[in-house]
């Protein structure tokens, strides 16, 4: 006997198993470690490092000290600036790729990710060669006579920003590209047909319809940026501390797991807060069933 297989595949009991592998993965490598971090954050540093469990808010109180809250603010400010930088550079690039490139589209997209084929560390060290006082950039600027002495970039917030944007740009470009690429081009023609010029058409149609891509891009860049510690370490010369760096040092060098956990949990809570607020504001505008 022949049985239709489609309704079986579509039944909820069968499709439930599809989430199992990912579910197990998330449970063991996300939920459990996170629970550990949460529990640890209420404990104390053991006499020889490690953790002594307990229930106190001491670590969170410690975090409220100006030195640490400044790290929080620095992290948020730098991550926001880096995200914005990616958006400013990424949107025109994605727009160009999605609408103006017709041949060799795949090749162009490949060029965007090729830097990802090199190790993150090597890329970031590579930047130090470009932007140090006697690097390519400064040599060029001085030879052109545009500046008389080297522009200080390495070990400054600007250097870090440059590194952040450089490393995270593709994460912004891809979701933007996808949302612009699948935008129905007849909508743009309809807009022009109704009397809107190119700029008005961009403002009224392209931009709002690419908003889901913008949101996805902002998330994809902003979230990992707040946990970033390699770039500030290398390009900031350790002078500018991000939360990521603070947490790493607590676990690796200071061996204060309780404090490190408290910092990690706070960062997560803070991120959730920022994202919720921001989703509320942007999400409403991008509420679009076609996206």
């Amino acid at each position: 006997m022949l049985r239709p297989t489609t309704d079986r595949a579509a039944s909820p009991s069968a499709s439930r198993w599809l989430v199992l592998p990912a579910g197990v993965w998330y449970f063991f490598f996300f939920v459990i470690p996170l629970s550990f971090a949460f529990i640890f954050s209420f404990g104390h540093r053991g006499a020889y490092g490690g953790i002594e469990l307990g229930f106190s808010f001491d670590q969170y109180v410690r975090l409220a000290q100006p030195i640490y809250s400044k790290t929080f603010l620095t992290t948020l400010a730098m991550a926001s600036a880096g995200t914005l930088g990616c958006l400013i550079l990424g949107y025109p690039l994605a727009y160009f790729l999605a609408t103006r490139v017709h041949r060799h589209k795949l090749l162009m997209l490949l060029l965007v990710i090729i830097p990802f084929w090199t190790s993150f560390l090597i890329r970031t060290y590579g930047i130090t060669i470009l932007i140090n006082d006697r690097g390519l950039l400064n040599t060029l600027l001085m030879n052109l006579g545009w500046v008389s002495e080297p522009v200080r970039l390495l070990f400054t917030p600007w250097g870090i920003l440059l590194g952040l944007v450089y490393n995270y740009l593709p994460l912004m470009v891809f979701p933007l590209y996808v949302s612009l690429e699948r935008l129905d081009k007849t909508l743009l023609e309809a807009s022009k047909d109704l009397g809107a010029g190119r700029l008005a058409t961009f403002r009224n149609i392209t931009l709002p319809l690419s908003l889901p891509g913008v949101i996805a891009g902002l998330m994809l860049v902003f979230i990992p940026l707040t946990g970033e510690y390699v770039v500030p370490q290398i390009l900031g010369g350790g002078k500018i501390l991000f939360m990521g760096g603070l947490i790493t040092s607590q676990f690796v060098s200071t061996r204060d797991w309780a404090f490190g956990s408290a910092a990690a949990v706070s960062l997560i809570v803070l991120l959730l807060l920022v994202i919720t607020v921001y989703m509320r504001r942007l999400g409403r505008r991008a509420e679009d069933p076609f996206a």
Partner: protein, 372 residues
């Protein structure tokens, strides 16, 4: 020629690389007409509309809108609006915002926009759905929004690209009538693209039949249906039986020798000359069938090969020696005891009025020559 046309195309040709989409198209569309471009898929209808709207530029030829050459004028400065095949409604805007879009671009005052949006929505019977998003509307309602969004701008010409293509049969019929009456009310020139001959026949004041980028025939619905000038038109608009042969002289006048044995009489004043090779077309509904009564029937006799019930009509395929299969259609309402339904295998007598024979030039030497 001080004649004024709303839209005039003069020798318009459009190449896409080596593909010829439209070739030497000349059309004159009068103000207030319901003008259809009819033709099979790929014949260049959409391309023609897009050139009038300004989305494509002719490779050769001139397009004038309201007497003005529109070469180089971008779509947003042409007083022409388009209803797109899949409507192209803005998904992130409400019905109201969609309809108001054109007036907003023209910086019309807010109260004026509100007034005209209400007017336009009332015209297409969508009052009350202002706040809905396009995806919350049925296909027919989306179609109306697209119409309102275009008509609110009071264009010189409204271009419609198979606007009913996505609707089901019944809604299509209803919308056809509605569109037609709407066009009469607003008095705006409609250029209507369709590949559905029935639709073109019922709605149009004037039809341009296109084939492979060229104009095949121009005329009213009656003209293109009753007096097709090429085999293509006779075949595309309605069904036809075709008989090819040479015109010869016989006792009764001119006949077409389709076969050595088969001669078809030609209507008087057909314009055919002896020696000419022509095609005769006869519409299936013009073919009369009668059961053979005598033992030695005269005239065209054939055997019913199959009968197909089509609802209003029944279609018979009748095999005739020397002529092949002839298709005949009979109204089912005419079936009674005197003229019963015919069964497969039955011998029947075929006939048609002389003036039902349409004389067409032989295929290949039609109104135009094709170069390779």
């Amino acid at each position: 020629m001080p004649e004024s046309w709303d839209v005039e195309l003069q020798g318009v040709t459009k190449y896409f690389g080596s593909v010829v989409a439209v070739e030497g198209l000349t059309l004159r569309i009068q103000s207030g007409q319901f003008y259809s471009l009819l033709g099979p898929s790929g014949c260049g209808k959409t391309t023609t509309l897009r050139m009038i709207a300004g989305f494509e530029h002719p490779s050769q030829g001139i397009i004038r809108i309201a007497g003005q050459d529109v070469l180089g004028i971008p779509p947003y400065r042409r007083n022409v609006n388009m209803v797109f095949q899949h409507y192209a409604l803005f998904p992130h805007m409400s019905v109201e915002e969609n309809v108001a879009y054109g007036l907003k671009q023209k910086k019309v005052s807010v109260p004026e926009i509100a007034r005209r949006v209400q007017q336009a929505l009332a015209m297409v019977q969508l009052t009350g759905l202002e706040r809905r998003r396009p995806h919350e509307l049925s296909g027919g309602q989306q179609q109306r929004v697209a119409l309102a969004r275009a008509l609110i701008n009071r264009p010189t010409v409204l271009l419609l690209d198979e606007p009913l293509g996505a609707l089901d049969q019944k809604l299509r019929k209803a919308m056809q009538l509605e569109l037609k009456s709407l066009q009469r009310t607003v008095g705006i020139t409609f250029i209507y693209v369709t590949h559905d001959q029935e639709e073109a026949l019922t709605m149009s004041d004037y039809i341009a039949v296109m084939n492979a980028g060229r104009l095949e025939q121009l005329g009213t619905a009656i003209e293109v249906y009753e007096r097709p000038r090429t085999r293509f038109v006779a075949d595309f608009i309605g069904l036809s039986n075709f008989f090819r042969g040479e015109v010869i002289r016989s006792e009764g006048g001119l006949v077409v020798a389709v076969d050595r044995r088969m001669h078809l009489a030609l209507p008087p004043h057909s314009g055919a000359r002896p020696g000419q090779r022509i095609t005769v077309a006869v519409r299936p509904e013009k073919v009369r069938l009668a059961p053979v009564s005598s033992d030695a029937p005269s005239g065209l006799v054939g055997r019913v090969a199959s009968s197909t019930y089509l609802g209003e009509q029944t279609e018979y395929r009748v095999g005739v020696n020397g002529l092949g299969t002839i298709i005949a259609r009979r109204q089912n309402s005419e079936i009674d005891s005197a003229t019963p339904r015919l069964a497969a295998g039955e011998l029947v007598q075929l006939s048609w009025a002389l003036e039902s024979s349409l004389i067409l030039p032989e295929e290949g030497v039609a109104s135009h020559e094709r170069e390779g």
